[in-house]
């Protein structure tokens, strides 16, 4: 019997970027399933008893601190507790402190029993450029942005369209991550769409397409396919049979531009992917892109 693997999402961003708002909205979204949320204690989360394991201690500072301040096994212990209850949980979300390093926290997502699902970094669109030049916290903000897979722009409603565009241009220079205007659907944030459950019409908040492949695929083909990703693609997930890795099926996970492949622990027999794109992306272009994988190399 294979063990359950919990998707592990990191939510980072500087103070006031909207992490708490995002987490509260995820908590009220019944489509996401049962969440374990490890929060930064200085935030204000509407804790909804049984669904959430709040963390009481030194979680986030653990990875930043040094021996004198934080030599503990606190975060590892929290992850063990969550894993022990994995039958009651569908997904883990870790909120990084406002000055924390999302990339470092994300490494915990590779702990056995978990699967890193993406690093989401929020930015306050109305202040981010100014704050990125702050002498105390500018570098912290820039390194958070650089560490993201997905950037979510908050407070766009306070700005004119051309102001938002200039922030988006600036973000392109700072990070290879995909920047999306908040709010986005949970489907895009987590890639909730399951293979085969695809709705036959594109929904208002996202576009998705699935494709099943008849034969195993070469690594070289995946390489070419990855590089020709159309602009609207936010997430891809699924399992592939890869010629070079015949022993087990490979789990495919793409969040923004970053592709991860790992040996599947659940030995799924499928050879199929689902891709999720921003609203307005032509579904044909998504399908066409997935189709590149079935072309002979």
């Amino acid at each position: 019997m294979s063990e359950k693997v919990l998707p592990f999402t990191v939510i980072g961003g500087y103070l006031g970027a909207g992490k708490t708002t995002l987490i509260n909205s995820l908590l009220s979204d019944s489509t996401i399933g049962r969440l374990a949320i490890v929060v930064n204690d200085f935030g204000e989360i509407n804790i909804d008893e049984s669904l959430i394991l709040s963390h009481d201690g030194d979680t986030i500072s653990l990875t930043n601190g040094c021996i004198c301040c934080s030599l503990t096994d606190g975060f590892a212990e929290t992850l063990t507790q969550i894993r022990d209850r994995s039958n009651d949980i569908d997904r883990v979300i870790v909120e990084v402190s406002g000055v924390g390093e999302p990339r470092k926290i994300a490494q915990w997502g590779h702990t056995p029993g978990y699967s890193l699902d993406g690093v989401v970094v929020l930015v306050d669109t109305s202040t981010v450029i100014k704050r990125s030049k702050d002498s105390y916290v500018g570098e912290t903000i820039c390194s958070q942005i650089a560490a993201a897979d997905l950037i979510l722009l908050s407070r766009c409603d306070l700005l004119e369209e051309d102001e938002i565009r200039s922030v988006e241009r600036w973000l392109k220079e700072e990070s290879s991550a995909m920047a999306l205007r908040s709010p986005i659907s949970a489907s895009m944030l987590f890639g909730l769409e399951e293979i085969g459950t695809e709705k036959n019409i594109s929904s208002l908040d996202h576009v998705s397409a699935t494709l099943e492949f008849p034969t195993p695929i070469d690594l070289a083909t995946i390489d070419i396919w990855e590089k020709s990703r159309p602009s609207g693609i936010v997430r891809v997930k699924g399992f592939l049979r890869i010629n070079e890795r015949p022993e087990n099926s490979t789990e495919i996970q793409m969040c923004g531009p970053n592709l991860t492949m790992r040996a599947s622990q659940s030995d799924s027999p499928t050879n199929a992917l689902v891709a999720i794109a921003t609203p307005g992306t032509p579904k044909a272009s998504v399908t066409k892109w997935l189709n590149l994988l079935s072309l002979p190399n």
Partner: protein, 547 residues
């Protein structure tokens, strides 16, 4: 009615640290307090007194006060020591430093032979390969110790561990492990280094037992033994996020309040890492006893200089290395501290870099202008790179500093060559500048970061020698008198315990450091070698060899 006996202890010399009577030749103790001070003849007139000659050839100082140490300082000794410098364990056994890779292998072989159960992991700590020349120590070196027993060696920085192949095999760490912080060789196999806590936690059961064992109650008793051997009668657990939990308090009380425990312990909370409110902390403070103190605040603002994570002002680290990190957001410090400030709770903040000091000074200035406090004793912990101008501001705000003077010895050479260069390294832990500005100082060891030992800390501030033997920042040296003051009354002042401890003054707790040699008469270069006979805590004598 029985009258309590007063015991009079004549001594070879008594240095009181009390400015109105700095020396004496006998001290009288009644119950847990100093009762009188003077010559033996003066003492004889005390009613119902007994003379005890135990210290007749010893030198008495107030018990040393370590205002920045951590409760875990003793727990690491459950594991095998592999550090570069010689170090003594809680039982007084001296462990020689491991000067190269073969020393490390030899040390681990001995430990391996001593473990009966073939599956029990071998756990070790303190490894400091930056001092080793030549090749880097990796997992294959540890394989020379055992191919079957998992081995986990935590480095001195605590940011990484080296493990052997048996451990990687049993925990499934291999070429396919996707985590960052696991360096791989040319063939793509992990070399046996696990960097940062996430990677270290992959060491699974070895990682869990490394930290799990350190939580045992016994380690608190061992902390007392470490203190006793160093002449320390008051020490701190500086930053414990669960200090307000009744379980934590009960566990500490069971040990510290025991009459056989030789020291007072002050536990600071870390509200930035817990849910502790000012109301909680005030209530917790009420649970303090004479030996166990509770109800103060510690916040960590930045990282460390040797780890390149402290926040520095321009010109920053050498070679344009990026600035360090904030452990707590600078913008939120005022908000975090305000309720504790309003309630008059004692607040200490870890600031290694000079930029972190600026943030703390701005915060204190804001809080004091909102709500003035006459006797706040805000203390900057570490305060290593602080400039003379900052010291003027610290003095204006009536703040204190607790300097990490041991840094000169342990990392001074690295500070010259790789962190900040010789010019700013010379002003690190600038005790002279602080005293000239009128800032109350203490100095600390930050055990377990450096060994618990107040005389070493004082020696480092007096001589400012690096491990390679050069003098770093000669102008910042202070006198023996100033240094001894800093590790006694100076530290007590920062803990707001100066009316109870820190000097040999009638009415204060009878806490003594009992020395074999006179610290004012030995060569100041040898102060750290002065041997410690033991301590007195609350009137009870604790010879070092018996604890």
């Amino acid at each position: 009615m029985t009258v309590e006996v007063t015991t009079v202890y004549p001594a070879a010399a008594i240095y009181t640290m009390d400015s109105s009577k700095s020396t004496a030749s006998a001290v009288a103790v009644k119950g847990d307090r100093f009762w009188a001070l003077g010559s033996l003849d003066e003492m004889r007139s005390i009613t119902n007194c007994e003379i005890d000659n135990t210290f007749v050839d010893k030198i008495l100082l107030p018990g040393f006060v370590e205002a920045h140490s951590h409760g875990m300082a003793s727990g690491l000794w459950l594991h095998t020591y592999c550090g570069f410098f010689d170090r003594s364990d809680p039982d007084g056994k001296k462990w020689s430093g491991c000067k190269n890779i073969s020393d490390v292998i030899e040390r681990l072989r001995v430990a391996d032979n001593a473990i009966q159960d073939p599956n029990e992991p071998l756990l070790a700590w303190g490894l400091d390969p930056i001092y080793f020349s030549g090749e880097r120590l990796v997992g294959s070196h540890l394989d020379l110790v055992s191919l079957t027993r998992p081995i986990f060696v935590l480095h001195a920085s605590a940011h990484l561990a080296t493990v052997n192949s048996a451990l990687m095999r049993s925990e499934g760490i291999d070429a396919a492990t996707p985590m960052e912080g696991i360096p791989k060789d040319a063939e793509g196999n992990p070399v046996g280094e696990l960097q940062e806590p996430a990677a270290m936690s992959l060491a699974g059961s070895a990682f869990r037992s490394f930290f799990g064992r350190m939580k045992a109650q016994d380690t608190k008793w061992a902390l007392g033994r470490l203190a006793n051997k160093a002449g320390v009668t008051t020490l701190t657990d500086l930053g414990n996020p669960s200090s307000t939990s009744q379980t934590t308090i009960d566990e500490w009380q069971e040990v510290v309040d025991h009459r056989d425990f030789p020291a007072r312990v002050f536990i600071f909370d870390s509200p930035a890492m817990s849910q502790t409110t000012a109301t909680n902390l005030l209530a917790t403070r009420e649970k303090s006893s004479e030996k166990l103190r509770l109800g103060a605040v510690k916040v960590v603002l930045d990282g460390s200089i040797q780890g390149f994570t402290a926040r520095l002002r321009s010109p920053g680290y050498l070679n344009d290395r990026p600035n360090g990190i904030w452990v707590f957001p600078p913008e939120q410090l005022t908000e975090l501290l305000r309720p504790f400030h309003e309630d008059g709770l004692l607040i200490h903040v870890h600031c290694n870099g000079d930029e972190a000091v600026d943030v703390f000074l701005e915060t204190v200035e804001t809080l004091l202008s909102e709500s003035p406090k006459a006797d706040h004793r805000y203390t900057i912990q570490h305060c290593q790179l602080t400039s003379p101008e900052q010291y003027e501001r610290i003095a204006d705000l009536k703040m204190c500093v607790n300097l990490f003077s041991n840094h000169t010895w342990y990392w001074g050479d690295q500070h010259i060559s790789s962190t900040v260069g010789p010019d700013r390294a010379a002003r690190m832990n600038s005790a002279r500048t602080a005293l000239n500005a009128g800032v109350p100082i203490s100095m600390h060891c930050d055990a377990p970061v450096t060994p618990l030992g107040s005389l070493h800390v004082a020696w480092a501030a007096i001589n400012r020698k690096t491990a390679s033997g050069s003098v770093l920042g000669a102008e910042e040296r202070i006198s023996v008198e100033e240094a001894l003051q800093a590790i006694t009354l100076g530290a007590a002042y920062q803990l707001k315990m100066d009316t109870e401890i820190g000097s040999i003054t009638p009415g204060k707790f009878a806490d003594l450091a009992i020395l074999e040699d006179d610290p004012y008469k030995v060569d100041p270069n040898e102060l750290r070698d002065v041997s410690i006979w033991g301590t007195m805590s609350g009137g009870k004598i604790f010879p070092a060899e018996n604890t």
